[in-house]
């Protein structure tokens, strides 16, 4: 489940285990790189989806494809912006309300490149990485429907 490319400092993981922001932030601050700008995005399980109270969530994925899809997205971001370190962690399996689902962390010498790359990776991950969410709510279990706005978000790049 772990991929560590040695020619570029990408840290891409798909795991059931939770991740620790302090550890992940430290990984991005690696002194070898000495970038001035760090941007981190974290997505959390929301407690409410429209009118439904979410008790937990199940995240299914396509194991053989997932990391390759994430690596392709990270490489596209590297082709667009000058980036130092990039981390992408996506959790799978059962997650409780308020749990961390996904983290994208990016460093760059330029803050606007770091912001753009982190947002780009999230937008493309939402559209192209093979994950599917099912919400266990007080009104029953529902597969999450893809949103047209996610395709719109990716279209802007």
């Amino acid at each position: 489940m772990t991929t560590k490319a040695f020619d570029k400092p990408d840290y891409i993981k798909v795991q059931n285990a939770d991740f620790d922001m302090a550890v992940e932030y430290q990984r991005l601050r690696d002194v070898e790189v000495s970038d001035g700008a760090v941007v981190v995005f974290v997505g959390l399980v929301r407690e409410f989806s429209q009118d439904k109270h979410i008790k937990s969530m199940f995240l299914e994925h396509y194991p053989a494809m997932t990391e390759q899809a994430l690596q392709t997205i990270v490489q596209e971001a590297r082709d667009k912006w000058p980036l130092g370190k990039v981390s992408v962690i996506h959790r799978i399996g059962h997650l409780d309300a308020n749990a961390q689902i996904v983290m994208v962390g990016v460093t760059s010498q330029h803050r606007n490149a770091a912001f753009a790359a982190a947002e780009f990776i999230m937008d493309y991950l939402k559209m192209r990485a093979p994950f599917w969410k099912k919400e266990m709510t007080t009104k029953g279990d529902f597969w999450v429907e893809a949103k047209a706005s996610d395709n719109d978000a990716a279209a802007k790049w």
Binding site: H61, Y62, K126, W132, K134, W143
Partner: protein, 85 residues
């Protein structure tokens, strides 16, 4: 043999994780579209879900289209639009 995988709501509604299809059953031009037509013969629900426009396809772990040509031992995945992140 082609290996066919199903994910998410599609997997759940078809009650199928995985199945195998002999490439020769897809005729002279074994495309993704030909595979859809073949699988749709399995019943009304299959017919409905595989042709809904909400059924995406990856061949050998890369997003593919209806025109993508299949070869023996390909892994074909069918799934709804993704909802990660």
């Amino acid at each position: 043999m082609l290996s066919i995988l199903f994910f998410g709501q599609l997997r759940e509604r078809l009650k199928t994780d995985q199945l195998s299809v002999d490439l020769t059953t897809l005729g002279n031009k074994p495309t993704v579209q030909a595979l859809r037509v073949h699988l749709a013969k399995s019943g009304e629900l299959w017919q409905e879900l595989l042709n809904s426009g909400n059924c995406l396809v990856a061949v050998n772990q890369t997003m593919a289209t209806d025109e993508t040509v299949l070869t023996s031992h390909d892994e074909v995945a069918l799934f709804p639009p993704v909802t990660g992140g």
